[in-house]
Protein backbone atom coordinates (compact mmCIF):
# COMPACT_ATOMS: atom_id res chain seq x y z
CA UNK A 1 0.00 0.00 0.00
CA UNK A 2 2.76 2.40 0.91
CA UNK A 3 4.34 1.95 -2.46
CA UNK A 4 1.11 2.88 -4.18
CA UNK A 5 0.80 5.92 -1.94
CA UNK A 6 4.29 7.15 -2.77
CA UNK A 7 3.80 6.45 -6.46
CA UNK A 8 0.60 8.47 -6.46
CA UNK A 9 2.41 11.34 -4.74
CA UNK A 10 5.11 11.37 -7.42
CA UNK A 11 2.48 11.23 -10.14
CA UNK A 12 0.81 14.25 -8.53
CA UNK A 13 4.09 16.18 -8.56
CA UNK A 14 4.97 15.79 -4.89
CA UNK A 15 8.70 15.22 -4.56
CA UNK A 16 9.27 15.67 -0.85
CA UNK A 17 11.09 12.92 1.05
CA UNK A 18 9.15 9.90 2.20
CA UNK A 19 10.52 8.12 5.25
CA UNK A 20 8.91 4.77 5.80
CA UNK A 21 8.94 2.35 8.70
CA UNK A 22 8.80 -0.96 6.87
CA UNK A 23 9.81 -4.61 6.91
CA UNK A 24 11.08 -4.49 3.31
CA UNK A 25 12.55 -1.88 0.96
CA UNK A 26 10.21 0.40 -0.97
CA UNK A 27 11.49 2.21 -4.07
CA UNK A 28 11.75 5.96 -3.87
CA UNK A 29 11.65 6.10 -0.07
CA UNK A 30 14.01 6.28 2.85
CA UNK A 31 13.25 2.98 4.56
CA UNK A 32 13.77 2.10 8.19
CA UNK A 33 13.36 -1.21 9.94
CA UNK A 34 9.92 -1.20 11.48
CA UNK A 35 10.90 -3.68 14.22
CA UNK A 36 8.17 -5.38 16.18
CA UNK A 37 6.09 -2.73 17.87
CA UNK A 38 2.93 -3.31 19.85
CA UNK A 39 0.04 -2.39 17.55
CA UNK A 40 -2.71 -2.23 20.17
CA UNK A 41 -4.78 0.94 20.20
CA UNK A 42 -2.58 2.44 17.48
CA UNK A 43 0.03 3.51 20.00
CA UNK A 44 2.79 2.42 17.62
CA UNK A 45 2.39 5.77 15.88
CA UNK A 46 3.49 7.58 19.02
CA UNK A 47 6.26 5.07 19.69
CA UNK A 48 7.69 5.58 16.21
CA UNK A 49 7.27 9.31 16.60
CA UNK A 50 9.33 9.44 19.76
CA UNK A 51 11.89 6.74 19.09
CA UNK A 52 12.51 7.05 15.36
CA UNK A 53 10.99 10.07 13.67
CA UNK A 54 12.38 12.47 16.24
CA UNK A 55 15.88 11.43 15.20
CA UNK A 56 15.37 12.58 11.61
CA UNK A 57 16.73 15.92 10.59
CA UNK A 58 13.63 17.79 9.45
CA UNK A 59 11.69 20.69 10.92
CA UNK A 60 8.25 19.24 10.21
CA UNK A 61 6.87 15.75 9.73
CA UNK A 62 3.66 14.73 8.07
CA UNK A 63 2.28 11.36 9.05
CA UNK A 64 0.27 9.65 6.34
CA UNK A 65 -1.29 6.25 6.85
CA UNK A 66 -0.29 3.77 4.18
CA UNK A 67 -3.85 3.37 2.91
CA UNK A 68 -3.79 6.86 1.40
CA UNK A 69 -3.41 8.19 -2.12
CA UNK A 70 -2.52 11.49 -3.73
CA UNK A 71 -4.84 12.67 -6.48
CA UNK A 72 -3.32 16.14 -6.84
CA UNK A 73 -0.59 18.24 -5.28
CA UNK A 74 -1.91 19.57 -1.97
CA UNK A 75 0.43 22.55 -2.10
CA UNK A 76 1.83 23.58 1.25
CA UNK A 77 0.25 21.48 3.99
CA UNK A 78 2.06 23.57 6.60
CA UNK A 79 -0.44 26.38 6.04
CA UNK A 80 -2.98 24.24 7.90
CA UNK A 81 -0.86 24.41 11.03
CA UNK A 82 -1.28 28.16 11.39
CA UNK A 83 1.03 28.79 14.36
CA UNK A 84 0.22 25.54 16.13
CA UNK A 85 2.98 22.94 16.61
CA UNK A 86 0.62 20.20 15.45
CA UNK A 87 -2.25 19.86 13.01
CA UNK A 88 -4.51 16.81 13.07
CA UNK A 89 -7.72 17.56 11.18
CA UNK A 90 -10.65 17.87 13.56
CA UNK A 91 -14.07 16.63 12.60
CA UNK A 92 -17.24 17.54 14.46
CA UNK A 93 -17.78 18.73 18.00
CA UNK A 94 -18.40 15.64 20.12
CA UNK A 95 -21.40 17.42 21.61
CA UNK A 96 -23.13 17.20 18.20
CA UNK A 97 -23.60 13.44 18.55
CA UNK A 98 -23.46 12.80 22.32
CA UNK A 99 -24.76 9.23 22.29
CA UNK A 100 -22.77 7.99 19.33
CA UNK A 101 -20.42 5.13 20.16
CA UNK A 102 -16.78 5.65 19.19
CA UNK A 103 -14.12 3.01 18.46
CA UNK A 104 -12.85 3.42 22.02
CA UNK A 105 -16.15 2.01 23.26
CA UNK A 106 -17.03 5.39 24.73
CA UNK A 107 -19.85 7.62 23.62
CA UNK A 108 -18.96 11.05 22.25
CA UNK A 109 -20.33 12.54 25.45
CA UNK A 110 -18.08 10.33 27.59
CA UNK A 111 -14.96 11.09 25.55
CA UNK A 112 -15.71 14.80 25.70
CA UNK A 113 -16.15 14.64 29.47
CA UNK A 114 -12.89 12.70 29.80
CA UNK A 115 -10.95 15.26 27.77
CA UNK A 116 -12.41 18.12 29.77
CA UNK A 117 -11.74 16.37 33.05
CA UNK A 118 -8.11 16.25 32.02
CA UNK A 119 -7.78 19.90 31.22
CA UNK A 120 -9.34 20.63 27.84
CA UNK A 121 -11.31 23.86 28.24
CA UNK A 122 -12.65 24.15 24.70
CA UNK A 123 -15.50 22.05 23.33
CA UNK A 124 -13.97 18.70 22.33
CA UNK A 125 -13.84 17.57 18.69
CA UNK A 126 -13.44 14.14 17.20
CA UNK A 127 -10.25 13.69 15.24
CA UNK A 128 -8.14 11.35 13.18
CA UNK A 129 -4.72 9.78 13.33
CA UNK A 130 -4.45 8.89 9.63
CA UNK A 131 -2.94 12.25 8.71
CA UNK A 132 -1.23 14.80 10.92
CA UNK A 133 1.58 17.28 10.85
CA UNK A 134 3.97 17.97 13.68
CA UNK A 135 6.86 20.31 14.35
CA UNK A 136 10.04 18.44 15.26
CA UNK A 137 10.44 20.35 18.52
CA UNK A 138 6.92 19.50 19.65
CA UNK A 139 7.39 15.73 19.48
CA UNK A 140 8.19 15.30 23.17
CA UNK A 141 5.29 17.51 24.21
CA UNK A 142 2.78 15.72 22.01
CA UNK A 143 4.05 12.31 23.08
CA UNK A 144 3.88 13.22 26.77
CA UNK A 145 0.42 14.80 26.57
CA UNK A 146 -1.03 11.92 24.58
CA UNK A 147 0.47 9.14 26.68
CA UNK A 148 -0.41 10.86 29.92
CA UNK A 149 -4.00 11.13 28.77
CA UNK A 150 -3.98 7.48 27.69
CA UNK A 151 -2.71 6.28 31.08
CA UNK A 152 -5.01 8.52 33.10
CA UNK A 153 -8.01 7.33 31.10
CA UNK A 154 -6.85 3.75 31.52
CA UNK A 155 -6.61 4.16 35.28
CA UNK A 156 -10.17 5.42 35.18
CA UNK A 157 -11.32 2.38 33.21
CA UNK A 158 -11.21 3.59 29.58
CA UNK A 159 -8.86 2.25 26.94
CA UNK A 160 -8.53 4.96 24.31
CA UNK A 161 -7.45 4.64 20.70
CA UNK A 162 -4.71 6.68 19.07
CA UNK A 163 -7.16 9.05 17.34
CA UNK A 164 -8.59 10.11 20.70
CA UNK A 165 -5.31 10.60 22.51
CA UNK A 166 -3.64 12.32 19.58
CA UNK A 167 -6.77 14.45 19.24
CA UNK A 168 -6.49 15.40 22.90
CA UNK A 169 -2.84 16.46 22.51
CA UNK A 170 -3.75 18.34 19.34
CA UNK A 171 -6.56 20.24 21.04
CA UNK A 172 -4.40 21.08 24.04
CA UNK A 173 -1.83 22.65 21.72
CA UNK A 174 -3.69 24.25 18.86
CA UNK A 175 -5.14 27.35 20.51
CA UNK A 176 -8.16 27.64 18.28
CA UNK A 177 -9.65 24.23 17.41
CA UNK A 178 -12.21 25.65 15.02
CA UNK A 179 -9.35 26.76 12.76
CA UNK A 180 -8.11 23.17 12.52
CA UNK A 181 -11.30 21.53 11.35
CA UNK A 182 -10.97 19.34 8.30
CA UNK A 183 -13.54 21.42 6.46
CA UNK A 184 -11.33 24.50 6.83
CA UNK A 185 -8.76 22.82 4.59
CA UNK A 186 -10.86 21.06 1.97
CA UNK A 187 -7.97 20.97 -0.52
CA UNK A 188 -5.58 19.17 1.78
CA UNK A 189 -6.78 15.83 3.13
CA UNK A 190 -9.90 13.81 3.85
CA UNK A 191 -10.96 10.28 4.66
CA UNK A 192 -13.19 8.65 2.08
CA UNK A 193 -15.50 6.85 4.47
CA UNK A 194 -18.02 5.86 1.80
CA UNK A 195 -15.69 4.84 -1.01
CA UNK A 196 -16.79 7.58 -3.40
CA UNK A 197 -13.55 9.52 -3.91
CA UNK A 198 -11.47 9.46 -7.11
CA UNK A 199 -9.12 6.52 -7.55
CA UNK A 200 -6.18 8.34 -9.05
CA UNK A 201 -4.80 11.54 -10.48
CA UNK A 202 -6.50 10.76 -13.82
CA UNK A 203 -9.81 10.81 -12.00
CA UNK A 204 -9.09 14.00 -10.00
CA UNK A 205 -12.32 15.90 -9.42
CA UNK A 206 -14.58 17.21 -6.68
CA UNK A 207 -16.47 14.60 -4.72
CA UNK A 208 -19.09 14.67 -2.03
CA UNK A 209 -17.44 14.11 1.32
CA UNK A 210 -19.58 12.68 4.10
CA UNK A 211 -18.15 11.83 7.47
CA UNK A 212 -18.52 8.42 9.07
CA UNK A 213 -21.87 9.34 10.56
CA UNK A 214 -23.09 11.39 7.60
CA UNK A 215 -23.39 14.41 9.89
CA UNK A 216 -20.97 16.52 7.86
CA UNK A 217 -21.17 16.94 4.08
CA UNK A 218 -19.01 19.03 1.76
CA UNK A 219 -17.92 19.01 -1.88
CA UNK A 220 -14.15 18.79 -1.80
CA UNK A 221 -11.11 18.00 -3.85
CA UNK A 222 -8.30 17.23 -1.41
CA UNK A 223 -4.81 16.36 -2.62
CA UNK A 224 -4.50 13.44 -0.21
CA UNK A 225 -7.27 10.93 0.40
CA UNK A 226 -7.30 8.34 3.12
CA UNK A 227 -9.07 5.32 1.67
CA UNK A 228 -9.56 2.77 4.46
CA UNK A 229 -12.49 1.10 2.72
CA UNK A 230 -10.58 0.17 -0.40
CA UNK A 231 -9.38 -3.39 -0.22
CA UNK A 232 -6.50 -2.72 -2.59
CA UNK A 233 -4.69 0.22 -4.04
CA UNK A 234 -3.18 0.30 -7.52
CA UNK A 235 0.32 -1.10 -7.01
CA UNK A 236 2.96 -0.86 -9.72
CA UNK A 237 3.34 -4.21 -11.44
CA UNK A 238 7.07 -4.61 -10.87
CA UNK A 239 6.84 -4.26 -7.10
CA UNK A 240 6.04 -6.82 -4.49
CA UNK A 241 2.99 -6.20 -2.41
CA UNK A 242 3.86 -4.34 0.75
CA UNK A 243 2.13 -4.73 4.07
CA UNK A 244 3.52 -1.54 5.63
CA UNK A 245 0.87 0.37 7.52
CA UNK A 246 2.46 3.66 8.20
CA UNK A 247 4.51 6.26 6.61
CA UNK A 248 6.13 9.44 7.67
CA UNK A 249 6.63 12.16 5.20
CA UNK A 250 9.06 14.81 6.04
CA UNK A 251 9.34 18.23 4.51
CA UNK A 252 12.10 20.63 5.12
CA UNK A 253 11.21 23.78 6.91
Amino acid sequence: MMEACVRSARDAGVFKDFNVMTDRPIPGCECYDSHKVEKSFGLFKLIYLKSAISKLNYDYFIWIDADSIFVNNPGSPLVAMRSSPIHAPLNEKLSMTPELLLEDGLTCKQLSALMQHHGLTNPAYSSTSAFWIIHHDAIDTVYDLALEFFHKAKSEGSILQISSILGYAMQMLCGNPEAHRRRRNPDLWATDFHNVAPNSIEDDQQWRYRDMFCSDEQFINPGIIHVPRRKSLPVPEQANSHPGQLEARAVDG
Binding site: S84, T121, P123
Partner: protein
Protein backbone atom coordinates in the same frame (compact mmCIF):
# COMPACT_ATOMS: atom_id res chain seq x y z
CA UNK B 1 10.42 46.15 56.54
CA UNK B 2 12.31 49.38 57.24
CA UNK B 3 9.78 51.25 55.15
CA UNK B 4 6.98 50.13 57.48
CA UNK B 5 8.99 50.44 60.70
CA UNK B 6 8.87 46.73 61.37
CA UNK B 7 11.75 45.42 63.45
CA UNK B 8 13.37 42.23 62.16
CA UNK B 9 16.20 39.83 62.94
CA UNK B 10 17.46 36.38 62.00
CA UNK B 11 15.82 33.38 63.64
CA UNK B 12 19.02 32.54 65.54
CA UNK B 13 18.97 35.99 67.12
CA UNK B 14 15.44 35.64 68.50
CA UNK B 15 15.24 35.16 72.29
CA UNK B 16 14.59 31.54 73.33
CA UNK B 17 11.44 32.42 75.26
CA UNK B 18 8.79 34.63 73.72
CA UNK B 19 5.13 35.42 74.15
CA UNK B 20 2.75 36.29 71.38
CA UNK B 21 2.05 35.25 67.88
CA UNK B 22 4.16 34.33 64.85
CA UNK B 23 2.74 34.81 61.37
CA UNK B 24 4.37 32.94 58.51
CA UNK B 25 3.23 33.46 54.91
CA UNK B 26 4.03 31.39 51.87
CA UNK B 27 7.58 30.41 52.83
CA UNK B 28 8.22 27.22 50.93
CA UNK B 29 10.91 25.92 53.31
CA UNK B 30 9.23 27.00 56.52
CA UNK B 31 8.49 23.41 57.54
CA UNK B 32 11.23 21.46 55.78
CA UNK B 33 13.84 23.70 57.42
CA UNK B 34 12.19 23.00 60.81
CA UNK B 35 11.77 26.75 61.34
CA UNK B 36 8.12 26.18 62.29
CA UNK B 37 9.16 23.88 65.14
CA UNK B 38 11.78 26.36 66.36
CA UNK B 39 9.16 29.11 66.41
CA UNK B 40 6.83 26.94 68.49
CA UNK B 41 9.60 25.98 70.90
CA UNK B 42 10.03 29.64 71.73
CA UNK B 43 6.46 29.70 73.04
CA UNK B 44 4.82 31.57 70.18
CA UNK B 45 1.44 30.75 68.72
CA UNK B 46 1.86 30.02 65.04
CA UNK B 47 -0.45 31.40 62.35
CA UNK B 48 0.30 30.05 58.91
CA UNK B 49 -0.79 30.98 55.41
CA UNK B 50 0.37 28.83 52.50
CA UNK B 51 -1.22 30.95 49.70
CA UNK B 52 -0.63 28.25 47.10
CA UNK B 53 -2.86 25.37 46.02
CA UNK B 54 -0.44 22.64 47.10
CA UNK B 55 1.12 21.48 50.36
CA UNK B 56 4.68 22.47 51.13
CA UNK B 57 7.18 19.85 52.26
CA UNK B 58 6.50 18.70 55.82
CA UNK B 59 3.42 20.92 56.12
CA UNK B 60 1.27 17.84 56.77
CA UNK B 61 3.62 16.67 59.54
CA UNK B 62 3.39 20.08 61.19
CA UNK B 63 -0.40 19.92 61.15
CA UNK B 64 -0.38 16.39 62.63
CA UNK B 65 1.98 17.46 65.40
CA UNK B 66 -0.17 20.46 66.31
CA UNK B 67 2.47 23.00 65.35
CA UNK B 68 0.01 25.28 63.54
CA UNK B 69 -2.47 27.09 65.79
CA UNK B 70 -4.40 28.83 63.06
CA UNK B 71 -4.41 28.66 59.29
CA UNK B 72 -5.26 31.53 56.96
CA UNK B 73 -6.52 31.16 53.41
CA UNK B 74 -6.59 33.65 50.57
CA UNK B 75 -9.88 32.39 49.15
CA UNK B 76 -12.73 29.93 49.64
CA UNK B 77 -11.29 28.13 46.65
CA UNK B 78 -7.97 27.60 48.40
CA UNK B 79 -9.67 26.67 51.68
CA UNK B 80 -11.60 23.92 49.91
CA UNK B 81 -8.38 22.48 48.50
CA UNK B 82 -6.96 22.18 52.02
CA UNK B 83 -10.11 21.30 53.95
CA UNK B 84 -9.10 17.70 54.62
CA UNK B 85 -5.63 18.60 55.90
CA UNK B 86 -6.79 21.44 58.11
CA UNK B 87 -10.14 20.13 59.31
CA UNK B 88 -9.12 20.32 62.97
CA UNK B 89 -7.24 23.64 62.82
CA UNK B 90 -9.01 27.00 63.33
CA UNK B 91 -9.13 28.77 59.98
CA UNK B 92 -9.90 32.19 58.57
CA UNK B 93 -10.16 33.54 55.03
CA UNK B 94 -8.28 36.81 54.89
CA UNK B 95 -7.88 37.35 51.14
CA UNK B 96 -4.91 39.36 50.02
CA UNK B 97 -4.21 43.03 50.39
CA UNK B 98 -2.54 45.14 47.74
CA UNK B 99 -1.87 48.78 48.39
CA UNK B 100 -3.75 50.78 45.74
CA UNK B 101 -1.20 53.55 46.11
CA UNK B 102 1.42 51.24 44.59
CA UNK B 103 -0.63 50.57 41.43
CA UNK B 104 -1.99 53.84 40.13
CA UNK B 105 -4.58 54.00 37.37
CA UNK B 106 -3.71 55.40 33.96
CA UNK B 107 -5.89 56.11 30.94
CA UNK B 108 -4.72 53.81 28.17
CA UNK B 109 -3.52 55.60 25.04
CA UNK B 110 -1.03 53.06 23.73
CA UNK B 111 0.18 53.46 20.16
CA UNK B 112 -0.21 49.71 19.75
CA UNK B 113 -2.94 47.73 21.48
CA UNK B 114 -1.16 45.55 24.02
CA UNK B 115 -2.05 42.21 25.53
CA UNK B 116 0.04 40.43 28.13
CA UNK B 117 0.48 38.76 31.46
CA UNK B 118 2.66 38.81 34.53
CA UNK B 119 3.19 35.78 36.75
CA UNK B 120 5.81 33.60 38.30
CA UNK B 121 7.96 31.98 35.63
CA UNK B 122 6.50 28.59 36.38
CA UNK B 123 5.80 26.47 33.33
CA UNK B 124 2.64 24.97 34.87
CA UNK B 125 1.07 28.43 34.99
CA UNK B 126 1.18 28.62 31.19
CA UNK B 127 -1.18 26.57 29.02
CA UNK B 128 0.38 24.16 26.57
CA UNK B 129 -0.73 26.31 23.64
CA UNK B 130 0.21 29.67 25.15
CA UNK B 131 1.77 31.59 22.24
CA UNK B 132 -0.70 30.12 19.75
CA UNK B 133 -3.56 31.11 22.04
CA UNK B 134 -2.54 34.79 21.96
CA UNK B 135 -1.87 34.78 18.23
CA UNK B 136 -5.22 33.13 17.44
CA UNK B 137 -7.18 35.87 19.22
CA UNK B 138 -7.41 37.55 15.83
CA UNK B 139 -6.18 40.97 16.94
CA UNK B 140 -4.34 42.84 14.23
CA UNK B 141 -1.67 45.44 14.99
CA UNK B 142 -1.12 44.09 18.48
CA UNK B 143 1.79 43.71 20.84
CA UNK B 144 2.15 40.75 23.22
CA UNK B 145 4.09 41.39 26.43
CA UNK B 146 5.01 38.76 29.01
CA UNK B 147 7.16 39.38 32.06
CA UNK B 148 9.05 36.73 34.02
CA UNK B 149 9.99 34.80 30.90
CA UNK B 150 12.91 32.44 31.42
CA UNK B 151 14.81 29.50 29.97
CA UNK B 152 12.27 26.94 31.17
CA UNK B 153 9.48 28.73 29.30
CA UNK B 154 11.73 29.23 26.31
CA UNK B 155 12.31 25.48 26.28
CA UNK B 156 8.65 24.64 26.73
CA UNK B 157 7.70 26.71 23.67
CA UNK B 158 10.80 26.00 21.58
CA UNK B 159 8.55 24.89 18.72
CA UNK B 160 7.15 28.40 18.38
CA UNK B 161 8.63 31.18 16.29
CA UNK B 162 8.09 34.36 18.29
CA UNK B 163 7.75 37.29 15.92
CA UNK B 164 8.41 40.99 16.41
CA UNK B 165 5.05 41.47 18.09
CA UNK B 166 6.32 39.55 21.11
CA UNK B 167 8.11 41.23 23.98
CA UNK B 168 9.30 38.52 26.38
CA UNK B 169 10.87 40.08 29.45
CA UNK B 170 12.85 38.40 32.20
CA UNK B 171 11.64 38.68 35.76
CA UNK B 172 11.75 42.23 37.19
CA UNK B 173 12.97 43.69 33.91
CA UNK B 174 10.41 46.41 34.58
CA UNK B 175 8.57 47.32 37.75
CA UNK B 176 5.24 45.52 38.02
CA UNK B 177 3.54 48.92 37.90
CA UNK B 178 5.22 49.99 34.66
CA UNK B 179 4.62 46.62 33.08
CA UNK B 180 0.93 46.45 34.01
CA UNK B 181 0.35 50.03 32.90
CA UNK B 182 1.72 49.05 29.49
CA UNK B 183 -1.06 46.48 28.98
CA UNK B 184 -4.59 47.09 27.71
CA UNK B 185 -5.70 43.55 28.44
CA UNK B 186 -4.34 41.08 30.97
CA UNK B 187 -5.17 37.77 29.26
CA UNK B 188 -4.39 34.95 31.61
CA UNK B 189 -5.01 31.43 30.31
CA UNK B 190 -3.55 28.90 32.75
CA UNK B 191 -1.95 25.47 32.49
CA UNK B 192 -4.29 22.51 32.73
CA UNK B 193 -2.72 21.15 35.91
CA UNK B 194 -2.60 24.49 37.70
CA UNK B 195 -5.16 26.08 40.01
CA UNK B 196 -4.88 29.76 40.87
CA UNK B 197 -5.61 30.39 44.56
CA UNK B 198 -6.01 34.16 44.29
CA UNK B 199 -4.24 35.91 41.43
CA UNK B 200 -2.25 38.84 42.78
CA UNK B 201 -1.08 40.25 39.48
CA UNK B 202 -4.65 40.18 38.12
CA UNK B 203 -5.77 42.53 40.90
CA UNK B 204 -2.64 44.65 40.59
CA UNK B 205 -3.42 44.98 36.91
CA UNK B 206 -7.03 45.91 37.62
CA UNK B 207 -5.88 48.70 39.95
CA UNK B 208 -3.91 50.21 37.06
CA UNK B 209 -6.90 49.88 34.71
CA UNK B 210 -5.72 46.77 32.90
CA UNK B 211 -8.74 44.64 31.96
CA UNK B 212 -8.49 41.00 33.04
CA UNK B 213 -9.66 38.09 30.88
CA UNK B 214 -9.25 34.98 32.99
CA UNK B 215 -10.31 31.33 32.92
CA UNK B 216 -13.34 29.91 34.68
CA UNK B 217 -12.74 27.21 37.25
CA UNK B 218 -10.45 29.09 39.60
CA UNK B 219 -11.43 31.72 42.15
CA UNK B 220 -11.68 34.77 39.90
CA UNK B 221 -15.41 35.10 40.48
CA UNK B 222 -14.39 36.63 43.85
CA UNK B 223 -12.28 39.33 42.26
CA UNK B 224 -14.03 40.01 38.95
CA UNK B 225 -17.63 40.92 38.15
CA UNK B 226 -17.98 39.27 34.77
CA UNK B 227 -18.75 41.82 32.05
CA UNK B 228 -18.25 44.79 34.37
CA UNK B 229 -14.75 44.65 35.80
CA UNK B 230 -13.29 41.96 33.58
CA UNK B 231 -14.23 38.70 31.88
CA UNK B 232 -14.28 35.11 33.07
CA UNK B 233 -13.96 32.94 29.98
CA UNK B 234 -15.10 29.35 29.60
CA UNK B 235 -13.26 28.64 26.37
CA UNK B 236 -11.12 30.12 23.64
CA UNK B 237 -14.10 31.45 21.68
CA UNK B 238 -15.10 33.57 24.66
CA UNK B 239 -11.59 34.96 25.08
CA UNK B 240 -11.56 35.81 21.41
CA UNK B 241 -15.02 37.37 21.40
CA UNK B 242 -14.44 39.55 24.45
CA UNK B 243 -10.94 40.63 23.44
CA UNK B 244 -12.06 41.55 19.92
CA UNK B 245 -14.93 43.66 21.24
CA UNK B 246 -12.57 45.43 23.66
CA UNK B 247 -10.07 45.93 20.83
CA UNK B 248 -12.60 47.50 18.48
CA UNK B 249 -14.66 49.55 20.94
CA UNK B 250 -12.45 52.09 22.67
CA UNK B 251 -15.25 53.67 24.72
CA UNK B 252 -16.36 50.29 26.00
CA UNK B 253 -12.77 49.36 26.82
CA UNK B 254 -12.26 52.62 28.64
CA UNK B 255 -15.41 52.08 30.66
CA UNK B 256 -14.47 48.53 31.71
CA UNK B 257 -10.95 49.67 32.50
CA UNK B 258 -12.22 52.36 34.89
CA UNK B 259 -14.72 50.01 36.46
CA UNK B 260 -12.04 47.39 37.03
CA UNK B 261 -9.79 49.90 38.73
CA UNK B 262 -12.53 51.38 40.92
CA UNK B 263 -13.76 47.96 41.96
CA UNK B 264 -10.26 46.81 42.85
CA UNK B 265 -9.60 50.03 44.78
CA UNK B 266 -12.89 50.24 46.67
CA UNK B 267 -13.81 46.61 47.21
CA UNK B 268 -10.89 44.24 46.73
CA UNK B 269 -8.19 46.44 48.23
CA UNK B 270 -10.17 48.41 50.76
CA UNK B 271 -7.71 49.13 53.56
CA UNK B 272 -10.29 49.43 56.36
CA UNK B 273 -11.96 46.15 55.46
CA UNK B 274 -8.66 44.31 55.27
CA UNK B 275 -7.48 45.76 58.59
CA UNK B 276 -10.68 44.51 60.19
CA UNK B 277 -10.28 41.04 58.70
CA UNK B 278 -6.63 40.75 59.74
CA UNK B 279 -7.29 41.98 63.28
CA UNK B 280 -9.97 39.35 63.63
CA UNK B 281 -7.71 36.70 62.19
CA UNK B 282 -4.81 37.46 64.48
CA UNK B 283 -6.62 38.22 67.70
CA UNK B 284 -9.35 35.60 67.97
Amino acid sequence: MDQFNIPYCLLKDLPQKLEGLALAICEEHFFSSRTAWEVKQRGLKLVWSNEMMWEFADEKAAVKEGIIDKVLFVSEFQARAFERLYNSVPAEIVGNYISPAAFSFIDRRHKTFTVGRLSRSDTVKFPEDFPVFYEELGLSDVKFRVMAWDDKLRKKYRWHKFGDEWDLLPQNKESALKFLQSLDLFIYPLGHTFKESWGRSVVEGMLTGCIPLVPAGHQFHNSIIHGETGFICNDFEEYRGFSQRLYRDFRYRNQISRQASEYARNSLCNEDLHREVWLRALTT
